[in-house]
Amino acid sequence: MAKKHSEGYLSGKESRRISKENRKITSQLEKQHKRKNVPESEYLTQMHDPNNAVEFDNLHSYFFTDAGTVKAVDGVTFDVPIGKTVGVVGESGCGKSVTSLSLMQLLQRPQGQIVEGEIRLNLGDKAYDITKVPTERMQTLRGNYMSMIFQEPMTSLNPVFRIGAQVDEVIALHDKEGLSKEDIKARTVKLLEMVGIANSEGVYRMYPHELSGGMRQRVMIAMALACSPRVIIADEPTTALDVTIQAQILDLLRNLKDKINSSIMLITHDLGVIAEMADYVVVMYAGRVVEKGTADEIFSNPSHPYTIGLMASKPVVGKKVDKLYSIPGKVPNPINMPNYCYFKDRCEMCVKGCEGEYPHEISLSPTHKVSCYRYYDRKAGE
């Protein structure tokens, strides 16, 4: 039988105490978000590099649950340059999606909160710190400056509205020119054509259930692109689709990116898709970035043991192996993270230093950075 006080056991009293504390923290943060008429100067900031569209700087997004604080994103730093594609890879639950939701301020509130760090969004002539932008101002940023293609096209469209109405709504909400209904419809139809829907007039009047998965994903992309955003977040845009449809969608994304010169943040766990699409790759593990660099560097010289394991565990067509490599063990509990390297317990390449605290970032090249003790001496040598 299970032990009474096994790992993860919480008494009712303890749980009540935690939730009371959580409420204290979250209600204070919520008040900050809900303020009205906040002067712009409060969230204005400077980009560190004007060529970046987005800069994540030491971002911490926590979920205050009744079982304890889940540090879903715990100090993530990376940049998304203008006109480039950044791929974010990692297991489910490693904080990929939470990072992108933080950028959109779409975390499940009040439990989910950004508690530390900055997300700098480049608006061209000025830059905003997304973590401080009040909720009412966000409405004008979402859609116009950044938008998101959600994971499941099957569940992200509203089943009771026609496709046309759903895309129209986006345009009408974010439009500043006061377009008439006819103009909006014309624009929607044009958008649907742009994403490769042949029968765009017909699809305009259809309901989501009448479309196939690939078509629905196209509609989602059309919605995301409706206001020509500077940053497109694609959260596993092809995971639910077949290879043939996947190829179509990836082609489409690439062409559209070139057309409106926006940046793409591509979240996926398919390394093949990353290799094909991304200019830069960020590998995340348990809420932290373990390795980042250009796609070339990551694929030709994977340095973090987790990245190496990830590459080895994926079967590749044309490469025969008898047994696939599998990373032993599992991800540590997000509520009680260890104070040493999070990957140490699963790592087969441990060195002496691994006993110490979480390793800091080591630069292998100006763009290639890795958080691992194995490369500490190399830094000393340089």
């Binding site: 297991e91 078509m215 077949d242 398919d270 898709v273 694929f299 565990s313 599998s326 599992k330």
Partner: protein, 369 residues
């Protein structure tokens, strides 16, 4: 047993019936499964969804056959129809160890069920949330009286151990497990009955890459230990290439190409297979992609195009493709394709009867020498 043989004898009297070949555990010929579309006021049948429309293949003992194709092409239905899990078939034959499974009575089928099992697609919805894991795995074992009562607990422990589960997991409920562990439970449930043949319906597509590798390795190890035969349904071609000995490619209810994994990946013949393989993303940023992007999407299986079903999206479409359905041809030994492009090519299977005779004669001669 006797009775089934009698019924089988009666059925196989037809002209094109399958002959039982003991090297094959499963022989499928012209398998068809149509689902009726009900409509109108008194819900009359107004049409059929032709989910599986003529699938023919043989599966050798102890090997793995991969079944690939787009979603909605009938892969999963094929797997279910082979196990007689979705009502009656519409046409064709399924011989399991030489027995037509659709001729069996309810009671006989129940006995045969221990020999053929399925691992379902989604480990999150295919386990009962109200049963502890030990009961999920052991329920069928007890029902079929496979082991005596006193050995029951040990047996379940052994099965769980084989699949990488700990004995103390027995009293836990499915919601306490992660995706990979649940998939292990599903595998243990299927293997507890000591089957010969397992249909794996996308067993790894709901899992992360690193967990995928664990489950694939487990399936391969178990196959070696228990001499299992798998029908591995998946849309992930790299996984299929890794695990399968033979591969079947499906399109809109048809098996368009079928052959050994090596042949198919080295020399894909059907235009659809070519397009499918060219779309596999390669984890190497320098790889040159000669991608054939298929236009449009898969036609409705309720109203498939006339002639070859692929002609609406095919780059090599000819006039004949639009009104005449192609037939299966053997291009290389063991490599079958259904396509008009190979009409002029020699059909090896037709010649086989002659060649086997000559081969037999040769063998006789050699013996004499």
């Amino acid at each position: 047993m006797n009775m089934t043989e009698k019924t089988k004898g009666a059925k196989t009297a037809g002209t094109n019936a399958l002959e039982y070949d003991p090297q094959y555990i499963l022989q499928v010929k012209d398998l068809k499964k149509y689902f009726p579309i009900k409509g109108g006021l008194i819900s009359r049948t107004v049409g059929h969804v032709k989910a599986v429309d003529g699938v023919t293949f043989n599966l050798k003992r102890g090997t793995t056959m991969g079944l690939v194709g787009e979603s909605g092409c009938g892969k999963t239905t094929t797997g279910r129809v082979i196990l007689r899990l979705s009502g009656e078939k519409t046409g064709g034959q399924v011989l399991f160890n030489g027995q037509e499974i659709y001729d069996l009575s309810h009671e006989q089928l129940r006995h045969l069920r221990t020999k053929m099992q399925i691992i379902f697609q989604d480990p999150f919805s295919s386990l009962s949330p109200r049963l502890p894991v030990g009961e999920i795995i052991g329920e069928a074992v007890r029902e079929h009286h496979l082991v005596p009562k006193e050995e029951f607990n040990d047996y379940i422990d052994r099965v769980m151990d084989n699949c990488g589960l700990q004995p103390f997991h027995k009293d836990r409920y499915p919601h306490e497990f992660s995706g990979g562990q649940r998939q292990r439970i599903c595998i243990a449930r299927a293997l507890a009955l000591n089957p010969e043949f397992v249909v794996c319906d996308e067993p790894v597509s709901a899992l992360d890459v690193s967990i995928q590798a664990q489950i694939i390795n487990l399936l391969k190890d178990l196959q070696e230990q228990h001499k299992l035969t798998y029908l591995f349904i998946s849309h992930d071609l790299s996984v299929v290439e890794h695990i399968s000995d033979t591969v079947g490619v499906m399109y809109l209810g048809n098996l368009v190409e079928y052959g050994s994994t090596e042949d198919i990946f080295r020399n894909p013949l059907h235009p659809y297979t070519k397009a499918l393989f060219s779309a596999i993303p390669v984890p190497d940023p320098h790889a040159k992609m000669n991608r054939i992007v298929l236009e449009g999407s898969i036609p409705s299986p309720a109203n498939p195009p006339a002639g070859c079903k692929f002609h609406t999206r095919c780059a090599n479409c000819m006039e004949i493709c639009k009104h005449e359905a192609p037939v299966q041809k053997e291009i290389e030994p063991g490599h079958y394709v259904v396509c008009h492009l190979y009409d002029d090519a020699k059909d090896l299977s037709e010649e086989k009867t002659e060649s086997t005779e000559t081969a037999a004669a040769d063998a006789d001669v050699k013996k004499d020498e």
